[in-house]
Symmetry: C2
Subunit: 263 residues, 2 copies
């Protein structure tokens, strides 16, 4: 099913949504949606709907839609279903070193697929990419495409660079204090804790320096391992985010172990 | 540290190893190893060593190495350490649909990094890639490079295409019967079982058909989910393999829950 992502509240069931710009172009010209076809509508903030393409110009008189024929390149749909979906629990924030070139695109793309809530570039001693060169606008477009591809009701947020020494303590606006984990080869397997927000710090391919790990641990981070071998940044990030979500959700559904949420 | 992968038993400590071909060229011309430098030596079958580059032509008289100056492009090293490493437990076998183009390379690369033991292409109704076009020789080279990059002591094996109806039951030579899991969006989270071999079936982006899932379940496969969103094949494969290894290893290290191995 084709998915369309808009930056607005969804209308009510039976009402008309008008999609413009690139999304409309893609749906009409590339995917060739026709009157009667259905598409999924996302707004990136938890609202999900199913709409039916209505005849161009055939908007019903009992709706708020214009009666004139729509402009070329506007996709008109009538909403048939509408629901609100909660964000993934736990909220996983990944602060990582930045891989070179197009691997940064892969990093954001895969993190969005696995369900991370936020990614920020992490400034570390042995990082090789100048964080001023990170194109957050470009990466935000990749996160949007990944949300459509994977049917994510909530967009993954991106933020600016964070120095490692601030990473364990810096507050994400509107969010509770996170449980902080630092990925460290050879550390014990990640263990779920029931935290509502987990922030994971991932170093560059040369690793964190020993005193970087020590400072992070003093600031409250727990070292954890996410696999038997050394992984490239983008693989480590996706895999670790997925393991955290899986382990925490397993903990929450284990009979009588912990309350459903805890933070 | 630079890693060199050879296709032979490692010599004993104090003995000389002669590395030829592409590996020697890369170490000498690209990485510019010099006498006295150390490198890691892997053979892809669990043997791991550390060797010191010896002076070209300076092979000691008490070793088996030739006394003449080595040919150009031969890397001579004296083994200083040598150890044997067991394969990752559990053994994870991934049978998956094949993504298009270079995403098949990414699939094999990432599976090797996370520690999967075997990958085979899976033939399914809605698969879009002709499995006869899968270049196993090319993918084997990618698995070798990933093993060096990530320091895997054991190469990931690759095998030929398997039809879905044979996937739950086909035997891997020399291996016990696997626990079989079929990745299915919406199924309960993967739960570790203590199995020594876990085989995971991953469908194409259009999914398995309902009767494909039903047949696999009748043949003994357990449906399991690996995340909240739909993932592309290569992301799903890497993430699911990593989750299985993590969950099984966590189970094995939990106090008094299960024996260390069970199959």
């Amino acid at each position: 099913v084709h998915r369309v992502l808009i930056d607005a509240k969804l209308p009510g069931v039976g009402e008309i949504v008008a999609v413009e710009g690139e999304e409309a172009h893609h749906a009409l010209r590339v995917k060739r949606l026709r009157p009667g076809d259905h598409f999924e509508l996302l707004n990136g903030r938890g609202e999900v709907g199913v709409a039916r393409v209505i005849d161009h110009g055939g908007a019903r008189a009992d709706t708020a839609a214009p009666r004139r024929r729509p402009r070329a390149g506007v996709l008109l749909g009538e909403l048939e279903q509408r629901t609100g979906v909660d964000p993934v629990v736990p909220r996983v924030e990944i602060f990582s070193a930045v891989p070179k070139g197009s691997r940064a695109d892969d990093l954001v793309d895969q993190l969005a697929q696995v369900g991370a809530a936020l990614w920020r570039p992490l400034s570390t001693r042995h990082g090789v990419v100048d964080l001023r060169s990170v194109r957050l606008d470009r990466l935000a477009r990749i996160a949007r495409e990944a949300a459509k591809q994977s049917g994510r009701p909530w967009l993954m947020d991106l933020g600016g660079p964070v120095p490692l020494d601030q990473a364990p303590t810096i507050q994400t606006e509107g969010q509770p204090r996170p449980a902080v984990v630092i990925a460290h080869p050879g550390a014990p397997c990640y263990r779920p804790t029931g935290a509502g927000v987990v922030r994971l710090l991932i170093g560059p391919e040369a690793g964190f320096s020993p005193d970087e790990v020590e400072s992070a641990v003093r600031a409250g981070a727990t070292p954890a391992g996410f696999g038997p071998h050394v992984m490239r940044i983008e693989t480590a990030a996706a895999v670790a985010a997925a393991i955290i979500i899986h382990a925490e959700q397993t903990l929450r559904t284990a009979p009588g172990v912990l309350p459903h949420t805890a933070d």
